[in-house]
Symmetry: C2
Subunit: 453 residues, 2 copies
């Protein structure tokens, strides 16, 4: 059962490995890595410096080497690959699937990329160049050209002969796509079906016409949503004529979903670039400072704004006591509202209501929440012996803040989305800063209106 | 190409469908739904009431019916299924895969569940009961028992005969698992390999020993991480003896990842139960009020706290101006820190640093951020003609808030995680409320220390 267990990377192992590296104990390195999966070797390499990692990788077979490089974090890979000669890169590109090869080529400097392309054999080069023109975040950029394809007029035995020819290039075979003479996708036939059919059965009689496909221009998130909804493990990619160009497999989509979730989380937390805890202090600070500084300017603006009401504060100091309450509630309500909209935007088609209906609903929920919260605060303020008039003012202001923050929170992601920005931005420090200022404005405006009349 | 297009649900269609429903136009309903995928019918049913949905579903074949019910949102399904008789539920359970059947059984009331179980045939019932004992969020609860299994001593032709027998029950076949006489998993053989091998080749000679498996007790997130890391489309589930019990397919894991991301986002936004924009006003409010109320109590506590310093505010009103700045920065820094830790916790194994080293790094980043921000604020305050002493006080307080909020933000998710709570809680209103109070305390303490000495 030993082979079935996952590789466990622990401190002892890393220390032993480091010693082997220092003494250039190639035999040891090769032996311990023999049964380790490329994804685990990639993780292991993060523990060593570039030169050491390169040394380890060079001891391995080219297929393993390529798989490890393919598994590296793109940011790290981009720097790591600078240590490879063009010939080494060509060898790696040669054994990768076309979608992975394109990802790596896209990370190279233009000059290196051109040199590497020139070193590939003609057919492979044409394949790759065909894929290079797509953006990374559309179906065309995610697809691999390696697919099993059968003509609808073939028999099962012809189809199996073709699989024998093609299969070497296709790592994961889920089904064979069925096309007509013009390469137009007609359907698919599962390997299970092929195995269970007689040799001279015609593909025409056994293929499944009911196949979901995507177009090259579909966004990665659209593809993810389609594959998730219909539980697909792979989806064929067509051009506008309906011709079969390639396929996208679910493992790439799992990466898309995971990265999107991580990006949304970072945006909501006000972190401006993708960072991890083990990044450098400098990089961590750089990712965090921009939104903190924006927050600081919001705070300084608040300070100036409150300064305008210094006279009011001098008359009733207690006004200052409720600044945090107003501000925190505005922030919380805004983030709640925006995150509900962001979620709707993430699964399109769920909502078919008109804008007017949606806003009416936001309004009703806001009224309800605002009422509950302001009554609660009013009760507590009176209970704790607060001034009656000030208690009224605080509750009225709180109520207004809840309603207005709900609208800002609802509209901001919709507006951001319509301009092509990630709507999750609206759940981050952005909305908090705006709501902070707005909350203060409402509070002091209410004071002016109610307290001195 | 018509069949390749996705079903598009638009307002016109829904209106036409509603008319057909009102007039009980069964022929129309059956005809328009004929080529529509179950996932799309599920989405369509959300537009109609329970009685109408039940009417539509009853017009369809039992396989489609089962697939639609399987695709429904669990919360909605739980209520919807109350309208089914036990016999209807039995028919549905009979055609589902075991993992999906168990999900639905788990949503039934105990009495109904027992009655339904009693109506299943013995073998199927034993299968199901075997799965019912696992929690939903562990590998055992995610696995389906339908797998293709071959004995290592068989030949290819024997294996294909067995596939013929078993295949009917297994929807998606990726590979055949190879076991010994005691059902211990030895490896797997891909369908591609089977197709390309001679009939009398022994499985022993062609199977791949290198297969990654999980144990029944692995958490859903662990399984997701393993499948993501190794790009698996399915993973076998073993008991502690190494016997093969079932498999988990990637479509279920995509759901796990998507739901986890959604849950994290809701927690970060301070929404206490899973809601969507088209939920009822009552449900939306109920999901939002708990954290808002906690925030309100935080705000009221802040008010009491500031009240203790009324004397200070009377002497220097400008103290009040900087409350929002201190508070917003504390909140932002706390959320940033916690979300970075949450991310590390989500991909275990990435960090091998000791706690001490991690905290040192947090400290250095906090010092750097704190320094930049407090100098910035100091400069601006002087530039805008602020009082020198107060400017010093504000900057010192700000610096302290950044450092302390960094630590709170880092430690809270670690503590929550070690007690088995979702660490994402620490990126929500929780950390903001704590940091608000802490920020105020630091600010007024600094004032007391510096301003009056």
């Amino acid at each position: 059962v030993q082979e079935l267990l996952q590789f466990e990377m622990n401190k002892d192992f890393i220390e032993r490995f480091q010693i082997a590296l220092n003494t250039r104990d190639d035999a040891f390195i090769k032996q311990v890595l023999e049964d380790v999966k490329p994804a685990d070797i990639s993780a292991l390499l993060y523990e060593f410096n570039t030169e050491e990692s390169k040394y380890v990788i060079d001891l391995l077979e080219v297929e393993t080497k390529a798989a490890i490089i393919n598994d590296l974090d793109p940011d790290i890979r981009k720097n790591f690959i600078k240590n490879f000669t063009n010939e080494e890169i060509i060898d790696i590109i040669d054994v990768l699937a076309s979608d992975d090869a394109v990802d790596i080529l896209n990370e190279l400097k233009t000059k290196v990329r051109e040199e590497v392309l020139a070193g590939l054999d003609e057919e492979w080069k044409a394949h790759i160049i065909d894929l290079l023109r797509y953006d990374e975040d559309v179906a065309g950029g995610l697809m691999a050209k390696e697919i099993l394809k059968a003509n609808v007029n073939w028999t099962v035995i012809q189809c199996i002969a073709e699989i024998r020819k093609q299969a070497e290039n296709v790592a994961k075979v889920y089904s064979v796509y069925v096309v007509d003479d013009k390469d137009i996708l007609l359907g698919r036939v599962s390997l299970k079906r092929l195995i269970l059919s007689e040799d001279n059965t015609r593909i025409e009689d056994i293929y499944d016409k009911d196949v979901i496909s995507v177009q090259t221009y579909f966004s990665d998130l659209e593809v993810a949503e389609i594959m998730r909804k219909y539980d697909l493990e792979s989806v064929p990619v067509l051009n506008v004529q309906g011709q079969l160009l390639g396929r996208i497999t679910i493992d790439d989509i799992v990466d898309v979903i995971t990265e999107q979730a991580e990006e949304d989380r970072q945006i909501m937390a006000g972190i401006s670039e993708s960072v991890e805890e083990d990044d450098s202090v400098w990089r961590l600070s750089r990712a965090r400072l921009p939104w903190l500084i924006i927050g600081i300017f919001g705070g300084l603006l608040s300070a100036r704004f409150i300064g305008l009401f210094e006279g009011d504060l001098l008359r009733v100091t207690a006004i200052a006591f409720f600044i945090p309450l107003i501000q925190a509630t505005g922030g919380n309500v805004g983030i709640q509202s925006s995150s509900i909209v962001v979620q709707t935007l993430a699964s399109p088609g769920l909502i078919d209501e008109s804008m007017w209906k949606r806003l009416m609903k936001v309004f009703v929920v806001a009224l309800l929440n605002g009422l509950v919260l302001s009554l609660l605060v009013f009760g507590f303020n009176l209970l704790l012996g607060g001034d009656f008039t000030l208690s009224v003012v605080v509750s009225v202001a709180l109520f207004s803040v809840v309603v207005i923050a709900s609208f800002i929170g609802t509209l901001t992601p919709l507006i951001l989305n319509s301009f092509g920005f990630n709507p999750a931005l609206a759940s981050g420090p952005f909305i908090t800063t705006i709501n902070d200022l707005l909350g203060l404005a409402i509070y002091f405006f209410t004071i002016h209106l109610l307290l001195w009349n």
